[in-house]
Assembly symmetry: C2
Homo-oligomer: 465 residues x 2
Amino acid sequence: MAAAVPIDRECEVVVLGGGFSGLSAARALARRGVDVVVLEARDRVGGRSWTESVGGLRLDRGGQWIGPTQTRLQSLADELGVATFPTHTAGEAVELRDGVRHTYAGLIPTFDAPAAADAVEAILDLDLAALEVPTHAPWEAADAGRLDGTTLAGWMDDHLGSPVARDLLSVAVRGVFGAEPEELSLLFTLFYLHAGGGLSNLVRTTGGAQERRFVGGSQQLANGMADEIGDRVVLGSPVEVVRFDSDRDCGVTVTARRPGDGSWSVRAERAVLAVPPVIASRLDWVPHRPALRDQLAMRMPMGTVTKVHALYDRPFWRHDGLNGQLVADAGPLSSTFDDSPVDGGRGVLVGFVAGRDCRRFERDGLAGVKAVLEQLGRAFGPRAAEPLELGVQRWSEEAYTGGGPVALAVPGALSTLGPALREPVGPVHWAGTETATEWCGYLEGALQSGERAAAEVLDALGARS
Amino acid sequence: MAAAVPIDRECEVVVLGGGFSGLSAARALARRGVDVVVLEARDRVGGRSWTESVGGLRLDRGGQWIGPTQTRLQSLADELGVATFPTHTAGEAVELRDGVRHTYAGLIPTFDAPAAADAVEAILDLDLAALEVPTHAPWEAADAGRLDGTTLAGWMDDHLGSPVARDLLSVAVRGVFGAEPEELSLLFTLFYLHAGGGLSNLVRTTGGAQERRFVGGSQQLANGMADEIGDRVVLGSPVEVVRFDSDRDCGVTVTARRPGDGSWSVRAERAVLAVPPVIASRLDWVPHRPALRDQLAMRMPMGTVTKVHALYDRPFWRHDGLNGQLVADAGPLSSTFDDSPVDGGRGVLVGFVAGRDCRRFERDGLAGVKAVLEQLGRAFGPRAAEPLELGVQRWSEEAYTGGGPVALAVPGALSTLGPALREPVGPVHWAGTETATEWCGYLEGALQSGERAAAEVLDALGARS
């Protein structure tokens, strides 16, 4: 069947997806002299990293931070000459709880001190438990079946007495996963925390995952990788069909829409699929679809997140002794950060509408947007309710991503189907931050997954030469 | 954008999917004089009902039973002159537990009588609780958030002391849903049980969901509906793109592969999507994809089930006082039934490999098939291990279904995204057994969903005329 397709381009490796993982794989391969072609559906590279210019500002509509231990990301920035600067943290943070505004210093809202202590203890307990889950194979954890048979919410029921502590942890979880604690397999949660150095690390600015930003935005790193690969990166070319015959070792042919119109086919010895699991599952597979990978993909929904940017002429909250951070127990926004440019010449707040709040927000339409403005006003004063501009980036509407920030695994998925996550299917290898064992879900994880997929492919090509 | 597509066919309503739900909708519309076109991806109608001829036998590779209260299904059979006959139940059933074989009479294996009593009580408790969940809107249940925040496994932890009782219930759940208790939102489970008249009903042969079979197989009913609709049912035409402009009331255009080669476009005032949620989510949506429906679809994975048919010259187990039913605590098979033809002239056992066992089975390849034969031998004697033929129908490999027998909703899905299940998106209406409020997941539910979608469409068309 595969032989009947007219071939427009032959290469050694075709990479599907020009996000951080696909570009990382392609660059590693190209540097080893492999003839690669990257097919990217959108008219830009970067995937979940997308930097948009708005009135002279460079706003990261997707992934934007870099933190300690994200060494691949830092090396890439160094190599490309992209500078970083610390997230603005001077001042107090705001908490909105039961409609009342409080301010606090440090990591956790402390208005209810015993609850805050409970929440911190729970975070440390989770982080300790996470160390027992091997990141390369969570399904091999000592107690994998039991851990995968319960949700993070179930764990919280057993470990958190106070509803306030539960709320505090839920807000953190919503921000990290774009999902609610009841959606997350405990096994998956522990894997994810282990891969990212712990929940205490993931929720931090200074010393953690939100420590620094890129001057000019994160997408520059994708652009830089793509520039190196050159015209072998084809934009505007969404793949529709993946053909291979697992019974005959005759490579893989992908058919994609051609930039402009029509379609074209690229034949390669190997393919790297560098897209989220659910997106890979939406391709046509001819003649054999990878049924177990597909069943796994059905159990790895994308989180639900919408990112908003509120633009002001100045970061006025700084002068009020605030750091621009908000933690809210009720939506739309569950958190905000100061996202002003490095020189502080303009004011930008970035906010996250996530999980259940995001699903309500998407349904509410204009009323949801008004609620965001009102919430900003309650948190940071009346000026905050009247930004010069409010940008709303709805990741659930992105056909080539499907949601954000990351895919999660629901209960029962990893323990019964987990090995299908990275196991090659014939000549098809898997990349994407969801397949990472370090910093899964982050730009760093995307880079790691691409490098790992490239190494697999080099091994496979070497075995044939 | 929609206007730029050349139109090959215009009609009033285009139905995507020629399973029971799509045909039911199309037939209801056609009977009201509506010009409808049904696009079916496969070269047959029936969807999850598929009757295959094997050496003179008519084997149902998919849905096959009819039970009390499935009135639409019965009426359809009556109308088409398809007779039914009772599932063979005379004799004792076999239980395999911890590698040991027992026989028993009645609904539940009684080797461990206290555990059996526990399991029965749990079933009754679930069925009572299910009555509190409104089938038309489970998300409006009094305690929807809490029920959706836990899994059926969580409920079992609280309500079942004995591991044996837990095993018994798990086997039942595996058979009904193709999934494990930890995968199922409790809210979804209760909804599903309510819609089907209770778990005690769903696991029964006599008096329940497996009471009777169709002489000649269930697909005849789909064929009969399709015959009435005639050449407006187009086979071999998988839809790839759904176009509509929600801002302008200009109908909907679907582009499908054309039987043979190439593609064609059908424009209609309304569309009915009569496919499982995950399959609908794999279409291209232009220009706007229904983001909330998509997020819901990501949280409604198909169950995992493979159906095996073992063919013998005679139903020899009947002469050994056995009814052909097996319940096993370890896979591959979790249950079997006597599936011999009405005259008993040949012997057929139908078995289900479901949930975690199915995922292992699909991975094990030939070893899995051997394990099935060995298990049949242990249950029904050496003759059972050597069937004339063993048919293996892997629903997870079916590109246009994605698994079986039904989609389930994972924790947190229905309470936050449930309303998107049936809510029309512009001119697009939703059918499919997953959208049914009576007998969701069954052929009866498919018929109900099609009738409901047809009524919605008639309303909408009426409003425009």
